[in-house]
Symmetry: C2
Subunit: 387 residues, 2 copies
């Protein structure tokens, strides 16, 4: 794989315990009518909702609200946002929440003025934007998706039972993202761990591809090691500022484009999980955790050198006296042990996947793959192993 | 050190063997009058000059030229550029070369419409820009400074015997940078190695600070390891595309802002080298290589834990049965050995520093420091050790 890429990422990051102070300054750059998008009660419980409304009031904004965006944001909720935005002529979308809220906001930003059905146009047909886009900014309260510094969005169409991702063009980069690690302190441990595995999966999906040995490979290993070191600390003390900062920033860096440069990339684990999510509405990261070891055991022989490197560089597997195959399998076992010890989900049954569902999930999964081109039969085997 | 930072970097990167194809597209976004800034004959020798002039002609540009920008670009040369730019009403500056050409171009971009003396204003007084800035883009032909994706500029005032750096505000980010590794193939080995050590020094200057253990620390280790692995390969085969790509991209990443986030940083080695350069006009990276081991031996006790980590994580020093002090010293010895084995410069005498000069260099060096607050006497000790 020859190095060849374009990189451009103009999202402005304000990071730290005082970063919300920058919101006023940012909002003054945009028009009067704001669509505030958020999830459930949690931003009210931690007092963030009031703080933000006060800031918007100081800036003399007219605020419209779309609340109740759940995890695995639905197309129905996104279209509700589009209707408000079009009706009120919204100038700017402020997404306050985690990846689901941001992803939904991106869908609204692109979908409001779309003539065609936005799910069909963007999430199924992967078309380019040919209409006005509403600018957006984010205040992050949950970590994992990296959506705060990229153009990606994942939306679930419950009618079609399809969870689909789309990478929008660069106009969709959030204008700014406010990252205050203390806003993530109150996230329940299950959600925190789900987010952490989502980050790890983003990194592995980019890493396990190509036979190259490029800068991105080293950088991915670095972020994985930082996450592996910080996860037990975050479990022990969720209010350790530096630990939560490390996880928050690793999350943003994992999917802002830099880690995948010049990599062919895989993304089969995400593809499988999307359909697991469409059927069970499970926490995204937990779905990824349940699928990953089985998937990597299924494909590692096709990328043996990289799996050996993963074992050595990420998990410090001692290679002396072992075959490459043994080293590679030991690396995957380390990952599996980490998942179990961190109290993440280790099998799909625990997420509500039934043996009846497995066939439908496998055959509705988008195919692709890194080291191994996957068929629906292959996906079925992986799912059975992960039960 | 608590995490707290702002990050914004809008430079558009076109990377790869065909990246020059993007120049036309980029140039069409800007005005008619172009100041083409470059160094000596090398861009003509490799045919790049003709290619670029053809592209500019296709875009119907009026081209003005500033050539002969040498390493350690001088204030006199920068002012020559300012005069042309002002006289002709230049719309855009295209820097074709290495860091010296780009740094000089940034000085022109900010200095052309400055009412005050730009060297005094920016490089000595560190003032903010309060005049019109000319936008610029770059085509990189030499690797090391990272200037292609940041706002920094280093200019040497030969009259004052001062080599000073300045970080401009974000308006100074290059609009685009074209990074084609094949354009670096013809750089003489000495210059290539000087550039590589410059990158390593940028990384170490950011890493050796704070007692923190944050994401940036892991990322710096990753880039250092990539460079250590690729340097002997680049010496053995300067036309290995992937190797030169790795070095080129590590260089840009090392100083685009990401590696120093939430780090207090040091920069004393650069500060000392700036004055070595002002007195000897040596290759910047070689000056850094000659100074670094002596400097780090002088300060390591004040940052022992980090130097132990450096030894273990970057150089794989076996720690069993050794004291922390021994491990830390062994890490610095590994660095010194790498410098020698890579045929970089190991002492200042080889760069033309005389015992007579040493005192003046020491006492004209800007002070600062990471783990240890340095005095001029301390700098003198480091310089004597490095002779």
């Amino acid at each position: 794989m020859k190095y060849d890429f374009n990189f451009y990422n103009p999202t402005r990051i304000h990071f730290g315990v005082s970063s919300l102070d920058m919101l006023k300054n940012e909002m003054e750059k945009y028009g009067k009518k704001i669509l505030l998008v958020y999830g459930k009660a949690s931003i009210k419980k931690i007092g963030l909702y009031d703080k933000i409304l006060n800031i918007l009031e100081e800036c003399n904004k007219e605020v419209y609200e779309l609340s109740g965006v759940g995890s695995n944001p639905t197309y129905a909720k996104m279209m509700e946002g589009c209707r408000i935005a079009r009706q009120e002529g919204v100038d700017f979308i402020l997404a306050v929440g985690g990846g689901s809220v941001i992803d939904c906001s991106k869908g609204i930003a692109a979908g409001t003025y779309s003539v065609e059905d936005p799910f069909q146009k963007y999430y199924i047909s992967n078309d380019k934007i040919n209409n006005k886009v509403i600018p957006l900014g984010t205040v992050l309260t949950m970590v994992g998706t990296g959506s705060e510094m990229n153009t990606g969005s994942v939306i679930t169409n419950t009618q079609l039972k399809l969870k689909k991702g789309h990478n929008y063009e660069e106009v969709m980069y959030p204008k700014f993202s406010i990252l205050d690690p203390t806003l993530t302190y109150s996230v329940p441990q299950y959600q925190m761990l789900s987010g952490i595995f989502d980050i790890m999966s983003h990194l592995m999906e980019q890493y396990f591809s190509g036979d190259d040995d490029n800068v991105s490979d080293y950088l991915v290993e670095a972020l994985l090691k930082s996450l592996i070191a910080n996860t037990p600390k975050a479990i022990a003390n969720p209010k350790d500022y530096e630990v939560r900062s490390n996880i928050m920033w690793a999350s943003t860096m994992a999917l802002n484009g830099l880690m995948g440069l010049s990599k062919t990339q895989d993304w089969m684990v995400h593809s499988i999980e999307h359909q697991v999510g469409a059927y069970t509405f499970c926490a995204h990261g937990m779905g990824l955790a349940a699928v990953s070891p089985s998937y990597y055991r299924y494909i590692y022989k096709d990328g043996l050198a990289k799996f050996v490197r993963f074992a050595k560089n990420v998990w410090n597997v001692d290679i002396i006296g072992k075959t490459d195959d043994e080293v590679a399998r030991e690396g995957i076992s380390c990952l599996e042990k980490f998942i179990a010890e961190s109290q993440m989900v280790t099998n799909l049954s625990d997420l509500g996947v039934t043996t009846e569902m497995v066939h439908d999930i496998a055959y509705s999964t988008d195919l692709g793959g890194g080291y191994k081109a996957m068929t629906h039969e292959d996906v079925l085997e992986v799912l059975k192993e992960a039960m």
